[in-house]
Every structure is written in C-alpha cells, then in structure tokens.
Symmetry: C2
Subunit: 210 residues, 2 copies
Amino acid sequence: MPEHARNKEQAILDAAEREFLTKGFDGARTTSIAQAAGVTHAMLHYYFRTKEKIFERILDEKMRLMGESVLTAFGSPGLPLSERLRQGIENHFDFVAANPDLPRFLVNEVFARPERYEAMRQRIRWIMNPLLADLQRELDEAAARGEADPADALMLLLDVISLNVFPFLAYPVLEPLLGDLAGDRTRFFAQRKAENLEVIRKRLLKTPQR
Amino acid sequence: MPEHARNKEQAILDAAEREFLTKGFDGARTTSIAQAAGVTHAMLHYYFRTKEKIFERILDEKMRLMGESVLTAFGSPGLPLSERLRQGIENHFDFVAANPDLPRFLVNEVFARPERYEAMRQRIRWIMNPLLADLQRELDEAAARGEADPADALMLLLDVISLNVFPFLAYPVLEPLLGDLAGDRTRFFAQRKAENLEVIRKRLLKTPQR
DNA sequence: ATTATCTATAGATCTATAGATAATGC
DNA sequence: ATTATCTATAGATCTATAGATAATGC
C-alpha cells in the first residue's frame, strides 16, 4: 500500500479514536471523523466499510492497551514485594493520567456490547491470571515470613485499580469540592497518587489490633 | 391533572429512566420509550416537548439521588468516628449495589454536558461541603486524641467512594477473573464490601512504622 | 372549552453506496 | 489495470409537529 494511502488510513483512525473516545459509539459521527481526518466521507467506507468496523479497531486497541498497562506496571522482575507494589501503583496511575478518558470509554462500550463479551473474557483471563497467580505467591510468602498481613491478590489489585481510576472518571464531579486545589488538576492528582500509595501500604501492614 | 394522565406521565418517566440509564442520551430512542411506556410516540412530546427535557428530568433526579446517598450514609449523628465510618461505608455500598448502573450513567452524561456544569457545581458544593467540614473536624479530633492517623476528609471520602463504586463499573471486565466466585455476583460484592471496610479501617490506624 | 390522544408525515440527520474520474504502479 | 478519490444521492432512522378526534370537567 502506497504511503499516502497509509497516511490517510492512519489519519482516519486517529480522528476516529478522538471522536469515539470522547463521544462514544452512539454519539460519534462518521462525517465528523472524516472532516477531522481531512478526507471526504466516502473514504471512510472505502478503507473500513462500516462505522462499526472502525470502532472495533479502536475498541480492540484500547482494551489491549488497558490490559497491558496493568501487566507492565505490576509485572516487574524480582523486586521486594513492597517495592514492586509501589512501582506498580505509580506506573499504573501514570498510565491512567496519560489516558484520562480511556476508562470511561471502555467501561461504557464494553457494557453496551455483550455480544463481544465472550472473546473479551478469554483475553482478560489470559492476560491477568498469570499476574494474579504470581502476585498471590508473593503475598503468601510475605505473609508467611510475617512481613505483611495476608491478602487476596485480586482484592488487592482491585483496590489499587479502583483508587487509581475512579478519581479520573469522577473528576468533573469532584472539582467543585477541591477548595484550594480547585482548578489545579496536576496538584490534585499528585495528592491522589500519594494517598493511593499510602492506603495500599497500610492495607498490607501487619497489625495486631482489631 | 386527572389521574390517568398522571399515570401516563409517570409511565413515560419510568420508561425513559430505564432507556436512558442503560443506553445513555445518544443511544436512547424516544420511540422505544413510548413503546415501553405503552403510549403513542406523540404523547412524549405532548407531555415533555422534547427528548432533551425528558432527559433533564431523569438526570437531575439521579444526580440528586447520588448526592443524597453520600450525605445520608455518612451524615449519622454523634457516633464514634470509627463506627460512623463503618456505617457510612456500608450504607453507601448498599446504595450503589441497589443502583448498579447509576454511576456509569452519571459519569458519562455529566462528562458529555459541560453546558449544565455550572448549575451542578453549586449543588455539589452545597450538598458536600458541610459534610466534609464536619468529617474533617471529627478526623482532627480523633488524631489529636491519638486515636487515629491524621487524614484529609476529602481524600478519605474519595478513597471510600472509589472503592465502593469502581467494582460495579468494571464488573464485566472483572467477572472472568473471579475464579471460584465467577458468576456469584452476590458473594463477590459481599467480599468487596468487607475489603473496603478493612482498607479504610487500616488507613486510619495509628502506625509508628514508616 | 379544555385537555388528552391518535394518525400521518414533515424535516433533519446519518450511514452507506453508486458511479465517474484521477492517480499510481507495472 | 488497479487503487484511490470525489460528487451526489439513496435509504434508513429519528425527533418533532400538524391537524383531527375523543374524553373530561365545569
């Protein structure tokens, strides 16, 4: 395929990504995508046949990206557990900060598309189960050595992801409450990152009290 | 207004709620709403003029409901702090469990409607700021008495809401990972509730280590 | 008299394609 | 010869309304 065509194809995908990420499948317009990509509307159908097919390309890539972000964040080599978690939380947080409307997009479109669900289930398992098993082993060993309270790897990872992702989803609702942080998105999220690290650190602390 | 008309009006609102909550504004169809409500399509416009106006009714009510859920959950009278938080987390969690697609709806539609944002900001502040001030005072007092680590009320509340809400948003993505809990939604969410209580309890524990 | 309801359709979008023309690679 | 591109438009939806008719309240 000649280079200028590749460029147009890519321009369409780039424009489609922005359109779908901000407006969702139902709100997105192929005419807007064409305009943003600087091609005539007919070109979209020439390269991709249908709106649905363009969308699938975007959704698949974004799902892969989100899964990999967790994997690469927490999949570090033989670091001590506490350090591995610290790096994992930071890396995952930074990834979400760099892609702030990715979670909203995925949550929505995956919910709206039960028909694509089965293929997705397999991929999620395939990506995440090895990580969970490895993390569980480390957690068990740390607990056995008396360095940490026992914990379930899935529950712990879900704590991290909840804490990291939710503030980005809810930011418009939170912003009015920020007081002296209002408008200062960067500082607010820096504070959130520190808080999340602290919450998880304490979650694993061995504490005699109850 | 005669009773049968009230009934139709309410039937339309009920149908619209289901349609908008599951499909969002862009995906919702006024024809589907009319059909689900058991009225002709023209009746929607007779009672509400436009799709947008029906939607506003639903969005306003749901935003109010979500705000009040936080307020009533955590606004308990003079209980000890730890007990107040425990009840707050449980009540808020139960509310979300009873309205599992409310968060997704609000996150989306609020994001998509910056034009309604200013009115919303005021209401959010008005509802939440007194609660935050009261909670902060209690946290400061507990810290001064040496019963708890110092904490920022907004950060703590955001921890709670993140932990409570996110698993409902992400459930379809999580379900393939549940292992022996797969398919058993109830047991999974019971475990999440317990985990969230534990995370927040430990967050406030006074710990000498660092 | 006013309010509620229905049928039929206007009018606005939006996706998709037909069919002609231009550019490219062999 | 094949691939890329454009203009023009078909065809499908979807929201909204016009205008007639039925029901209701005074």
